[in-house]
């Protein structure tokens, strides 16, 4: 391993694809982004990505050496290198690793996994989970993603799709979920989930609230968090309810893999104590005795970096480090 080694970390999102070159310390060079253009074939994105990466590479110091490419993407399969029917991209099933392979020699490893798994690897390599062997990362964005690490290794499962805690059932026969089922955790605990909770509270309660003048479409996690911090009773209660549902789910999750910590990241996790406090309270109150007091609930340890790019790069760094 050399200090001049870098990994190209790529984060494919619904609207933007970001990338940068990440060294073994998690320092990211020449980070930049390009539009994903979800309605065009994936081939086009991969070609544009390659061009953009080449021009950023040329702008780097000559001493650097590319040792791999790690990619995070929605609905991605680590074993196959595919992205499979992501909700925000009209690609069907497409093998991103094969498409990118055309531009890079065989000796450059190219690995892909879903964004939550990438985030978990990023936290393990560079962030809050450094030195941990058993932990869970929960990403609270539009949905709820999860990456589970057991004994220092990512849990991919038999088919490469493990870690769908967002689709465990939080409330039997509860809210309709995008997956076609009902009551999934992510319909409550996510940016879109808390918005639905605000709507429910506006229907139930009579308190005046800023939330009453904002439409469903305009509402998002940040708007609700800002109002809650200013004392808005509906926004505040929405966070209490979200934290409670999430905390109960996490107390169940602990029973599976007995993690040292659960790390909550993503947009809604930016709300900080507003979300962490009720979540921790519900989690601790409902945790099985043998696990009580053992499990930390932590924010991301990647405060200044780009979690998604670092996570994608960690996919390669993790393999380099365990093979040494």
């Amino acid at each position: 391993m050399s200090k001049s080694w870098v990994v190209l970390g790529v984060d494919i999102g619904g609207t933007t694809t970001k990338f940068g070159f990440v060294d073994m310390y998690g320092k990211c060079y020449n980070e930049t982004s390009l539009p994903t253009r979800a309605d065009e074939p994936a081939e086009f994105l991969v070609e544009r990505l390659h061009q953009a990466a080449e021009s950023q590479w040329d702008a780097l110091d000559e001493e650097f050496q590319l040792v791999g490419i790690g990619i995070g993407a929605p609905n991605a399969n680590f074993y196959k290198g595919t992205v499979e029917n992501p909700p925000n991209l009209k690609w069907g099933v497409v093998n991103i690793v094969d498409l990118l392979r055309k531009f890079y020699d065989e000796e450059i490893p190219i690995k892909l996994t879903n964004d939550a798994n990438a985030a978990a690897l990023g936290e393990m390599q560079f962030g809050a989970a450094q030195g941990m062997k058993d932990f869970i990362v929960i990403t609270l964005g539009t949905g709820l993603g999860s990456g589970i690490v057991v004994n220092g290794e990512m849990v991919y499962g038999h088919d490469g799709f493990a870690g769908e805690i967002g689709h465990t059932v939080a409330i039997r026969n509860g809210r309709a979920c995008g997956c076609g089922r009902k009551g999934c955790l992510e319909t409550y605990a996510s940016a879109s989930g808390i918005r639905r909770t605000v709507m429910e509270l506006l229907a139930e309660k009579t308190e005046p609230s800023e939330m009453r003048s904002i439409s469903f479409s305009e509402m998002n996690g940040k708007v609700i968090a800002d109002a809650a911090k200013k004392g808005d009773p509906i926004a505040w209660e929405a966070f209490q309810k979200t934290g409670k549902t999430l905390g109960l789910a996490l107390s169940d999750a602990i029973n599976y893999t007995s993690p040292e910590a659960i790390i909550m990241i993503g947009g809604l996790a930016q709300a900080g104590d507003l979300l962490f406090k009720p979540t921790k309270e519900a989690m601790d109150a409902n945790t099985l005795n043998i696990f009580k007091g053992k499990v930390k609930l932590l924010p991301s340890g990647l405060k200044n970096g780009n979690i998604a790019i670092l996570g994608a790069a960690a996919l390669i760094w993790h393999e380099i480090l365990i093979s040494e």
Copy 2:
């Protein structure tokens, strides 16, 4: 590895402790048992166990060579070698591995884990999970135990107590559980759980049923299964309800580790189709789309052997085989 190598497999239960010498093919020699005597100190059991094992060893062919001791016990911790406050044994926290170490040289590895983990290793080495890398074993006895295998390795978790699926909450604020919480899966899906379901049905319904003449104390999984097989409507419905609750819980479990199979073993699993059919139906109906049709629900593959002893021995065989 040699054909004459054997592992002493020990299963410590609440009333009986069983052991035998298990070869690499899962053949068990000189199996025998002794009373556990739960009210005596653990030291006494370990001493009696050693004596009994020595006399069985002397009765074995001279060609055999002891290569390790594997022990399955309730509330056992793999990392520490301890049994910690098992409900049926008045031992507090006791280090079984240390106690047994006094009688065996350092070169003989001694490993201990909980009975459900041992069963999972037994199924992987000798039973239904041979060749599988990702699966879950559910033991349906008085309670519901679970052993989770990910990428060919047992999930012990940060503290050695992972795999408590029996204490995930099946019904929020449901039945009181021995753990002090409410609604745990094992209060519904276990031999004692189905007995409680029968009571509930006897209260709700008016149908004549054999179950009406059996007291709570006399009722057990086998009595209920026998009645259900003869067409008893209450007993039959109890299995339907148990299977439904269990199947829903298993569809959640799949989201964590994406297993190739879930293997159900133990007393209540002996009911066969009576339990497997409603469980599979509920599991398949509620599984997230990406996992649908991928997860097998299987009975034990250790039909003729003693699962507990083979599982305990597999704890050592697994380590020998992965180190080769």
